[in-house]
């Protein structure tokens, strides 16, 4: 027998070790998103601040109807991490990023108070009391943030807090590119 075959167990162990080591960084809480590259699901839900007003995906396009790059941020007052995230969303909104809120399974009055007290980074907030749009989006926890291109197609999804680091690493380049694409049209 070739003596080199004696090294096979060592090689197998090294390969396994490398695989397991690389898996250390992966987050088991993170699901592969099924909606990347697909249009934002259809919905018709009331506005958080104006219960009479129904919101639907056409509201993402803006008043001129041209279409714009939009962040959709899933938030709720019961969500502790949203507190941490909120400050950064205010900063983003000040920089001119269009953010739409999806108030997820929340109490309307408490949510309105939250925006009054902490500042409102959202163009508007969709009030999804039953979490029906949440299910259509595959939301399984708040906060979650979706980046939509000017056509209303979901291009990126982040489960968990978006802060400066996450924005720089995951969103900024793509956001810039999508905005440039939208302007070029």
């Amino acid at each position: 027998m070739n003596r080199l075959t004696l090294f096979i167990p060592l090689l197998v162990c090294l390969a396994l070790g490398a695989f397991l080591y690389s898996s250390l960084d992966s987050d088991p809480q993170e699901l592969p998103s099924a909606l990347i590259g697909k249009p934002f699901p259809e919905f018709s839900l009331p506005d958080l601040n104006d219960a009479e007003r129904q919101r639907n995906p056409s509201d993402f396009r803006g008043d001129d109807g041209k279409g714009r790059v939009v962040l959709v941020n899933v938030w709720a007052t019961w969500c502790y991490a949203c507190r941490i995230e909120h400050h950064f969303l205010n900063i983003l909104a000040e920089q001119g990023v269009a953010i739409v809120g999806l108030n997820y399974k929340d109490d309307r009055a408490m949510a309105q108070d939250w925006l009054t007290n902490r500042g409102n980074p959202y163009l508007f907030s969709i009030f999804d009391a039953e979490g029906t749009l949440g299910i259509d989006l595959g939301v399984y926890g708040a906060p979650e943030t979706y980046l939509l291109d000017a056509e209303g197609v979901i291009r990126h999804r982040r489960v968990g807090v978006v802060d400066q680091r996450v924005w720089d690493e995951e969103f900024h380049a793509l956001y810039q590119q999508l905005t440039d694409d939208a302007d070029a049209r």
């Binding site: 699901l31 592969p32 998103s33 099924a34 299910i135 259509d136 989006l137 595959g138 399984y140």
Partner: protein, 167 residues
């Protein structure tokens, strides 16, 4: 003696009652689901046991009490009432939550390794087993290489300088 027996009986009854209460409190965690057609219930039960809670690590929808699992159980119930087939319900959920939600995902480019690995490992194991057994089944022919000096030492060690050890 009689008193002892009675107290034992009471003890056993109490123990059985405790066990019965214990199991009933387990079921209390599961919400009551009403179906228009009772034949949907076994399908519902099967689905919530086979679908995985997206928020929790390694719990199915049936076992999990998280808010998202409650919502998804309700969703499954509503879809069943709407008359969707099991496969349609699974497709509905995977289009939103990806294959993660299935405990038994279909074979596709992400899961072929998962499905294929046991078969490959089994075949590999059988192959190695065969090779090893074919080797050991060969008769072992000891190669005795001994010279005069070894024989001498052996005789001395055995303390027997008359007989011939090698026979």
């Amino acid at each position: 003696m009689l008193a002892k027996r009675v107290s034992l009986r009471i003890f056993l009854r109490a123990a059985i009652a405790c066990l019965a209460l214990g199991t009933s409190s387990l079921f209390a965690g599961v919400d009551v689901v009403d179906f228009s057609d009772e034949s949907l219930r076994p399908r519902y039960q099967q689905l919530v046991e086979e679908l995985r809670c997206p928020k929790c690590q390694n719990q199915n929808l049936a076992d999990s009490n998280s808010a998202i699992s409650q919502d998804l159980r309700r969703q499954v119930q509503q879809l069943l009432e709407k008359g969707l087939s099991d496969d349609e319900i699974k497709a509905y959920l995977t289009s939103r939550y990806s294959d993660f939600i299935l405990y038994r995902p279909d074979v596709n480019k992400n899961t072929w390794a998962l499905w294929g690995a046991p078969v490959v490992l089994l075949l590999l194991g059988l192959f190695l087993l065969r090779r090893m057994s074919s080797k050991t089944s060969q008769p072992i022919v000891p190669t005795v290489t001994s010279n005069e000096r070894d024989q001498e030492r052996l005789r001395k060690l055995l303390g027997d300088d008359k007989g011939d050890v090698q026979q």
